[in-house]
Amino acid sequence: MAVAIAEAPFHVLAVDDSVLDRKLIERLLKTSSFQVTTVDSGTKALEFLGLHDEDASISSVHQDVEVNVNLIITDYCMPGMTGYDLLKKIKESSSFRDIPVVIMSSENIPSRINRCLEEGANEFFLKPVRLSDMSKLKPHIMKSRCKEHCHQDEDLLSNSETNPTNNSSSSSDTITISSSNPTEKAADDEILTKTSRPNHN
């Protein structure tokens, strides 16, 4: 029977150069039951994730490090690396491109908003951010986790012929596979895992 994927609260990385706004976003997130890490720059955010500015694509070195971030929320206007620059780096990274990114800005500039969304931002919050905005975060996290499982399921399906007892590193996949009849063919597995996946929308 499928078990809860994670009992720990979701971890959000909040990036903002304003000390006041960092204090507020931290409180907003904690009140909404998120675990929070705040940093004051895009550079520090990348450091925290284990990515380096120059070669965002080379992140394999840091995969052993336990950095589990479920969502990144960042201010747009920051000195040095803007929120948009940070968004780009994250989307260029093979390890972190699936982490949902939310952009915050005090200015309602449609071209800016579109640019961010086109680059892969999942949501755009106008500042000041409110408690009611927090409820928009979890759906993005759940969607990205479903996406993650899709990728892992596809890998497992493609491997199933050569290695039926393929062990994936994700506990949720082990659970998914074991929840279905082990004698089922690959195609049926796919159907079963899809229907057993909870809908968090």
Binding site: S18, V19, L20, D21, K23, L24, R27, L28, K30, T31, C77, S106, K127, P128, R130, L131
Partner: protein, 151 residues
């Protein structure tokens, strides 16, 4: 200790701040974030705000002197300050920030200087009133507050 009188004074002070437009709805949003886990949150935020805004105003004043007619630079400082005012609901201050930025857009040094003076005045007024407010709350203390929900 006359807690009910102190509470009345604190409530009246706060009402005045809203009625006179010093604070807006965003301040109530900040108050909503205060709870048992973070019982002094509002005051902490206010302290951070005045420290931050004091610093930004000071930086701006230096820039006004060091970089004459550098409206883009001045505007950039003011954008930061406006953001902070907006985050805490400091409504009158925010309006003066916007007025300053308008003057930057119109390239009016005199206008900018005028806006800055008004901004500093509003900053001082808000600081004094909020300090009084928190002082009253502190006097009411946990004993006084226990008999009534937070204001």
């Amino acid at each position: 200790m006359d807690y009910s009188n102190l509470r009345r004074q604190a409530a009246s002070l706060k009402k005045g701040l809203f009625d006179q437009g010093h604070l807006d709805e965003q301040f109530r949003q900040v108050e909503d974030l205060q709870d048992e886990a973070s019982p002094n949150f509002v005051e902490e935020v206010v302290v951070v705000f005045f420290k931050d805004s004091g610093r930004l105003i000071s930086n701006l004043e230096q820039a006004l002197e060091k970089y004459p007619r550098d409206f883009n630079r001045w505007d950039a400082y003011m954008q930061q300050l406006k953001g902070s005012c907006s985050s805490i609901g400091a409504s009158r201050m925010k309006n003066e920030c916007m007025s300053f930025r308008d003057n930057c857009g119109q390239r009016s040094v005199e206008g900018c200087m005028g806006s800055l003076q008004k901004l500093k005045r509003e900053h001082a007024i808000l600081r004094q009133k909020l300090e009084s407010y928190f002082q009253l709350l502190r006097q009411v203390g946990p004993a006084g507050a226990a008999t009534r929900p937070a204001m």
